[in-house]
Amino acid sequence: MDMLELRGIDKVYRSRGKEPVHAVRALDMAVEKGEIVALLGSSGCGKTSTLRMIAGFEDVSAGSIALGGRRIHELPPARRKVAMAFEGYSLYPPLTVRENIAFALKSAQLPRAEVTRRVDEIARLVEIEDILDSYPRAISGGQQQRVSLARALVRDADLYLLDEPMGQLEPQLRAVLRGRIKSLLAERGMTAIFVTHDQTEASALADRIAVMEGGVLQQFASEKELKGRPANLFVASFIGEPPMNLLDAEVMRSDSGFRLSVGTDMRFDIAGAGLDVEAAKTLAATPQVRIGIRPQKIVVGTGDVRVKVVSNQWLGDQSHVAGDCGGRMLIAVTPGRVAARPGEIVSFALEPRHLHIFGGDGTCIRHAEGA
């Protein structure tokens, strides 16, 4: 059963004398029980607005929210059974760290021993045992963030909302905490939604990722699917590091299917037999498309695409080779070192089966094979 269901959510911020801001548009999303979902997107894409509407600090302009079968979008925050870790931490200043974490448990009138046990347990998990008796103003931003996270996770709630839960932490600690929090959530079957703009964090922690842009949910899928089968040009270029290579191509009919030409330098034959009917129809009606290929799928040193090397970086475990091909930039990632200096000519192999093809409106016409 779906734990959380967002239906047709719209959020419009209106302020006098200004254009209304449409922060979230027609958002439909269903989160299963025990699932961890990331809301991923750049600043101002509507992800935090979505989170705050679920928590109840923002009204929904249209649509409905159901949590565990209850319609919650008209309930006050106190009755939604939702826990939240805030981006700005928002700890209670007059209380110690321990009291901050225990606050909701005490309000729920749990026995004192139980409260202590749970606070100690969660404090160990996020490594704040040694500052339990400090006050929020006396600890660092990273520590405050962990306290805020602990304060949310210690509660019994139907849904956990985490707004940029690890933005302030050092990289090593972040990696450790991600693992621990993921296993805690999984072990207890907790349903969580977190907001992030960090792809690595989204991939590491979430079961599914909701990519948002301009208030619109672009795609809601697993990381593998987002990478392999991006729904549109935005997801394709947003997900993946380094980003997908994108080129303009002209579509022509050929004997066996279609021929996509990028200027005079590259040509790709797409067999009509490999396309489904819908895709073939769309492709036939689209003279200009965008084609995309992941840098990891370009093979350096073979193939018929000649590029002039612009840069060649060895990152310790992989090489990023950027090459210029008739004014278009292509980036290739290979696992080994490449002996090519800037200015030299090398060959790149781009196979037609690895191409994603996007139509004029940005939606994907064909995904790469084997994804």
């Binding site: 700005g88 007059p94 309000s107 304060r151």
Partner: protein
């Protein structure tokens, strides 16, 4: 500080003493005057050393003002009591009305919100006398003239805008997410206001309350026009010391000392709260 030379320290000490004398002199002189008779005060040249007398305080407390022209009844203690009642009631009422209003202005954007807030502030712009003339006519019609309630109501012109605008700033400095966190933990909006917002803005509320108390205490014209003898505060009551047989400097000084005392005590008490919350800024992280 530790690295400063001996000369520097001496200079600093001297400078501080001079400044202290300069600012404290009027108050110290009044304090000394309050223990002297009119003759001692008016003696030329004035003397620092004198034989102290409690006659001034006695006269004030007993209400018997002995002058060369005979005995005069004064109701100084009554005036002092009126001042305490009027100022406290005015500040309490202003806090009850102003703190929730300040919260509303800080947290919610509503139609005409800024205009209302500004209108309330503009009460402070108007010359009090200009307001008073029509007001006293209305008060006579409404029967509010010479009532505690009427004066307390007029004092809202002083206290309410001050509290509203100072406390609003403090509420705006508190991250709304602290209240949100509290509400998510199962508390109502009202509890978040009383248990989180108000305590966190406590120092601001204390400061605004103290300031408006001082302004109310020192008000003169409102009470002069709207109150008769038995409702007058000390500021108006002090006029009684200008008698037919001259100005009673000794008693005035004693009256000043007595009338400053409640405000001073309140300020010392409120200081605790003023300092306590200065760490609030750390919340923003």
């Amino acid at each position: 500080m530790e690295h400063s030379s001996l000369a520097g320290r001496i200079f600093r000490g001297v400078a501080l003493t001079l400044i202290l004398i300069f600012f404290m002199f009027p108050i110290v002189w009044i304090f000394l005057m309050s223990f002297q008779t009119n003759e001692q005060i008016l003696r030329i040249p004035p003397r620092i050393l004198f034989e102290p007398t409690l006659a001034n305080y006695e006269a004030l407390i007993s209400g018997q003002l002995r002058t060369a022209a005979g005995n005069l009844q004064i109701s100084f203690m009554r005036n002092l009591f009126n001042s305490v009642v009027l100022s406290s009631a005015a500040v309490l009422l202003a806090l009850l009305l102003g703190v929730p209003a300040a919260y509303a202005f800080a947290r919610f954007k509503f139609r005409l919100g800024e205009s209302i807030a500004f209108t309330l502030l503009s009460f402070r712009f108007a010359p009090p006398l200009l307001v008073l003339l029509p007001l006293s006519l209305y008060y006579q019609e409404l029967g509010l003239n010479d009532t505690y309630f009427g004066i307390v109501w007029v004092y809202q012109l002083i206290a309410l805008p001050l509290i509203l605008w100072i406390v609003r700033g403090y509420f705006e400095d508190i991250s709304p997410d602290i209240e949100h966190a509290y509400r998510l933990a199962g508390h109502s909006w009202r509890e978040a206001f009383t248990r989180i917002a108000v305590p966190l803005a406590g120092p601001g509320i204390a400061a605004a309350g103290l300031l408006s108390f001082i302004f109310c205490w020192n008000n003169f014209v409102f009470a002069l026009i709207l109150a008769s003898a038995d409702k007058q505060p000390v500021t108006v009551g002090a006029l009684a010391f200008v008698t037919a047989s001259g100005i009673q400097y000794g008693q005035i000084a004693a009256a000043i000392v007595l009338s400053v005392t409640p405000t001073l005590l309140l300020a010392l008490y409120a200081q605790r709260y003023l300092v306590e919350g200065l760490s609030l800024g750390a919340v923003k992280g």
